[in-house]
């Protein structure tokens, strides 16, 4: 039976540095294997679509420019991704990996969340085509 049994904590914490942080000014470091933004390496991709098929939130779209020459562009909707890493497990050629980047998903518009991966000229080609308004429909699961 005591009264004020947290006295020790209270007094100690008065002289300690607070544990809370002024968030936007002070940022915590991300742990080493944080599942952040997905990265895709086009070189190894075979276009098997396994990653797209099992993504629970339809965050991935593989746009095929030229199937024979293996020219693909991956459109990655960062805001839809749930960072579950299922796609990383699914890809047998380890094209996909999760980086430590980007864990603050707040913005006033959608643009920063539309990420295109692929060879530079392919992405450029695709975006130009899109701006002309005749983009191919993206390849979806079905």
């Amino acid at each position: 039976m005591t009264i004020g049994s947290m006295l020790g904590d209270v007094v100690k914490s008065f002289f300690k540095k607070p544990v809370t942080e002024k968030y936007p000014f002070v940022r915590q470091e991300a742990p080493e294997n944080l599942r952040g933004k997905l990265v895709w390496e086009p070189e190894k991709c075979t276009g098997c679509m396994l990653c797209v098929k099992d993504c629970p939130s339809n965050a991935l779209e593989l746009i095929v420019l030229d199937k024979v020459n293996k020219r693909f562009v991956m459109k990655y909707n960062l805001d839809q991704c749930t960072f579950c890493a299922q796609c990383v497990i699914n890809c047998r050629f380890s094209c996909l990996n999760m980086s430590e980047e980007q864990w603050e998903l707040a913005s006033t518009n959608k643009e920063p969340f539309e990420v295109y991966y692929g060879r530079e000229e392919d992405v450029k080609f695709l975006l130009e085509k899109a701006s002309r308004g005749e983009a191919e429909g993206p390849c979806k699961e079905d």
């Binding site: 006295l7 209270v10 544990v19």
Partner: protein, 318 residues
Amino acid sequence: MNITFPSLIALLLFPGGLFLLGSGLFFEYLDRKLVARFQNRIGPRWFQPLADFIKLLAKEEVIPAGTIKSLFILLPIFALAAALTAALSVPLFGFKPVFSYNGDLIVTLYLLSMMTLCIGLAGANTEDRFSIVGATRALTQLFSYEAPFLLAMLGPAIALGTWNISLINQGATQQSLWFIVSQPIGFLAALIGLMGKLELPPFDAPEAETEIVAGALTEYSGRGFGLFKIGRDIELVVGLTLIASFYLGGFSTPLDFLWKVFVLLLITAALQSLFARLRIDQTVGLWWRIGAILVLCQLVLIIVGNTLSPFIAPLLGG
């Protein structure tokens, strides 16, 4: 310090009026900051209470259906006015009070209770269930701490034989022994009574947010709520000043005032963070079963001591 200000300035600017409002906000900041530090948090920045206040003033005030409109609007003003008036006879910041007369102690103590009465009325005025429960609790709490608090404040007054606050303050400075040593029960009762008055944790049952949202003030928004809030801040200043001047050996300079009040604030903040909220029946039980009796005993002792003092004074050397 024996500077006297022209009464208009003293009333509106310094040390009453505007300056008092400012220091009320500052005290609230200090209180919040200290509690935060006790809980290992950073706490608010210095302008947070002011920002809150301005925001509240700028907000729309919703007057709910089923209330007496004029009462709803007038009560916060009344509460703030009472708190400001209470400050007039108190030696704020170590300066001489603006109005000082014999018996101002009783008037000030009653003015300090106005706040709770207004809050109780404000709660009973609306039809909100939370408000009504909150008002009942606020008034119940008032009846439990009021008498012990009054008796605790009377202790030094009786010991010094005057009911004039500034005379008590002067008397306290001249005492060789601070009243906190000679009347420790009174000091505790006064400090805890003040916390009950201000509905600070653990005596925040009347506004326990997890049960009854904001208690009696649930229906208040905007201006009314802001005025109640700042009224309470001023009460904090006035109450702490009173206790410091009575029990911590009084003060005659602002510096003296500051450190004494800061120590008191430190203690209240620590008390606030140490305990779980008391249920209203526990609060009442605590005050009437323990608080009131102890304070009464002490008062009897003081009176007996006072009557006997001519005989034993030489023995105590004071």
